[in-house]
């Protein structure tokens, strides 16, 4: 029989203790200099700030919704910084930290949650696909993309790797499991990065899976590994290793980043209805930013000045994000018909022109269209 109690005591890869102490891991050597660690710290602080600004903007009515990454910064920055330029990431809807690593402007993310776009960036340009909201769907897109990479012959050390992001809840979806299987059978260069934040809205992990999620991989014939998702260095090391494996033609890996959703599911959610605050307190002690800061401090890799400069940068970004969000222009009504089809489509053209006439009729009459 399988171990059914293992959720609580994961066999996880950890490089940094919550106190910031570094221990090398035999399977995941990590070669990072002080600069790089400071950069990671900066990333963590800045994405947390972007995120908290977005939460405030939603409260102020500037966004329809926001899905906060609070608590998951290390999992996202660690894995995101493991990616190379030509790699391709397929996110879910909470990967603001990965987006950051891929050079997506915060306002592009805000635009989607404000409802002015459905994701305004160019996925090809950034190696970062649009957010996918229908849970699990992107795992298959990533796998297919990786199959395309194989057909392009883009394997080897300089090859292309693909990464799919999803949550613990998503592992219950058929699509996610089909993706595991397609990737395995085709030995596709894709890494499945599951942020197990232990909640799918109000449902705790036990409602999704009986054993740790990383074990799912072995049932499909490829390796799975559980990493401390609040340890940015471990996430970086483990993801780099898995991407290298993929690149070199050794097929997929499932990474389970064990972390915690410190905020609400989204700004619409009220977690007090379903979870104890004690749990949250426990995880605050494992905070990913605090941990890296302690490490920097204890190793003498950064001084007060550095921390102050990052905070100042965060303030500046916060301000910029607020301003940019408010300045986002609303789309034009006729944009409804934009890019529904690639080829000319008389039917859509006709609806567009009829609607244009309809709108014009209000202008002629000197009144405002719409409700």
């Amino acid at each position: 029989m399988s171990d059914t109690t293992a959720h609580a005591e994961p066999e996880l890869v950890q490089l940094l203790t919550p106190e910031g102490e570094f221990t090398a891991h035999p399977d995941y050597p990590l070669d990072v200099g002080a600069d790089e660690i400071r950069d990671l710290y900066r990333d963590l602080v800045l994405v947390r700030r972007v995120d908290s600004e977005a939460v405030s903007l939603q409260r102020q009515g500037e966004l329809g919704l926001w899905a906060s990454l609070l608590g998951q910064e290390a999992a996202q920055i660690g894995s995101g910084r493991a990616l190379r330029d030509g790699d391709m990431a397929f996110p879910s809807y909470r990967e603001h930290g990965v987006a950051w690593c891929r050079g997506i402007e915060p306002k592009e993310l805000l635009g989607m949650f404000r409802g002015v776009t459905n994701g305004g960036w160019d996925p090809h340009e950034h190696g970062f696909h649009l957010y996918t909201i229908v849970i699990g769907s992107q795992a298959l897109h990533a796998t297919g993309y990786a199959m395309g990479v194989q057909r392009d012959g883009a394997v080897g050390e300089d090859g292309t790797a693909v990464i799919a992001y999803f949550g613990d809840g998503a592992t219950s979806q058929g699509d996610t499991n089909e993706a595991f299987n397609f990737a395995s059978v085709n030995n596709a260069p894709v890494v499945f990065f599951c942020q197990n934040n232990q909640w799918a809205i109000s449902e705790p992990l036990e409602r999704q899976a009986r054993v740790p999620i990383y074990r799912r991989a072995s049932g499909f014939g490829f390796p799975g590994v559980r990493v401390d998702g609040n340890d940015v260095l471990a996430c970086l090391a483990v993801t780099r290793a898995a991407l290298a494996n993929a690149r070199e033609g050794n097929g997929p890996t499932l990474i389970e980043a064990f972390t915690y959703r410190m905020g609400a599911h989204t700004t619409n959610d009220d977690p007090t209805r379903y979870r104890a605050t004690a749990e949250l307190e426990e995880w605050k002690a494992k905070d990913p930013i605090l941990r890296l800061r302690r490490h920097l401090e204890r190793e003498g890799l950064a001084d007060e000045e550095f921390f102050a400069s990052v905070d100042a940068e965060a303030d500046a970004i916060g301000e910029r994000v607020r301003a940019e969000c408010r300045a986002l222009p609303d789309p034009e009504p006729l944009d409804i018909f934009h890019e529904v089809y690639a080829e000319p489509n008389v039917h859509i053209d006709q609806q567009r022109s009829e609607f244009a006439e309809y709108l014009a009729s209000f202008e002629d009459a000197g009144v405002e269209g719409g409700r």
Binding site: G64, L65, Y93, M112, F113, R114, G115, V116, T117, N118, I133, V134, I135, G136, G169, A170, S172, Q173, G174, D175, A200, I201, S202, E203, R207, Q208, A209, N268, D269, R273, Y274, D330, P331, P333, D335, I336, F337, V340, H347, I348, Q351, F355, Y358, F362, G369, G370, R371
Partner: protein, 326 residues
Amino acid sequence: MGTNLTIGKAINAGLRAAMEHDPKVLVMGEDVGRLGGVFRVTDGLHKDFGADRVIDTPLAESGIVGTAIGMALRGYRPVVEIQFDGFFFPAANQTFTQLAKMRRRSAGKLSVPVVMRIPYGGGIGAVEHHSESPEAYFTHTAGLRVVTVANPEDAYWMIQQAIRSDDPVIFLEPKRRYYEKAEVDTTASIAEATPMGAARIARPGTDATLLAYGPMVKTALQAAEADTDHSIEVVDVRSLAPVDYPTIVDSVKRTGRLVVAHEAPLSGGPGAEIAARVTEECFYHLESPVIRVAAFDTPYPQSRLEEHYLPDLDRVLDGVDRAFAF
């Protein structure tokens, strides 16, 4: 003897009444338990009926509908919640090839009284996939009954009727109207409630029939009020499969004009069938073709455009004008 209820609370009360009436009634879906659903429609049921009857399922719509079918085969009456319209599609296979066909496949030996509750429609400023109107996929699928509600009274009774029906029922909840309030006499008997399959004349009139359902009924009533030049009869369709054609045809034969309004995209939406059918039955009574006011044939747009995408009061009035222009 009424209780003042919103549509959301009325469905909640109806679910509770059904669970009290029949221990075989179960509620299942994502977050329906402790949270009470993202719209709180199952609020309190988990606490009062326990985790065996109010089941937080894994995040897998096909699994939800598929296991609900299995439970129905074991004699239960599962009420499944699909969290949002746009997340129905992973369950399409179980719904269309299994749920809808099980009775006929077995020549009546099997019964799968599953109710699928789906909050549907737009207008709530949501991100993609949270504002769809997928009703035409269901109404084109033989074996399903499809109903929707436009007021608390119907919400309270129809959910109970749906649960008591031995047919699988798609129960569409107009999410942007969840907070509409009215008095509901919850002490009345279910036997006296209007049958689930019947259309209702929501407002009598003589010059044109304006047909709507779910979230658009309120808009249709507003349009009828606003059009002071004509006497508009508003029909709340209520049941989309089967449609109560006798009521509709009777109305159209009296008024000579029909406008159908819905949030679903125009092409192949429920209005298409209604227009085709009514034209067949009322060919010599119609003074204008049936006019349809619907969403455009495009994907549901980003929310800042939805006020233009969804048919609103002005668009409905424009449709009525077009009917009179013939």
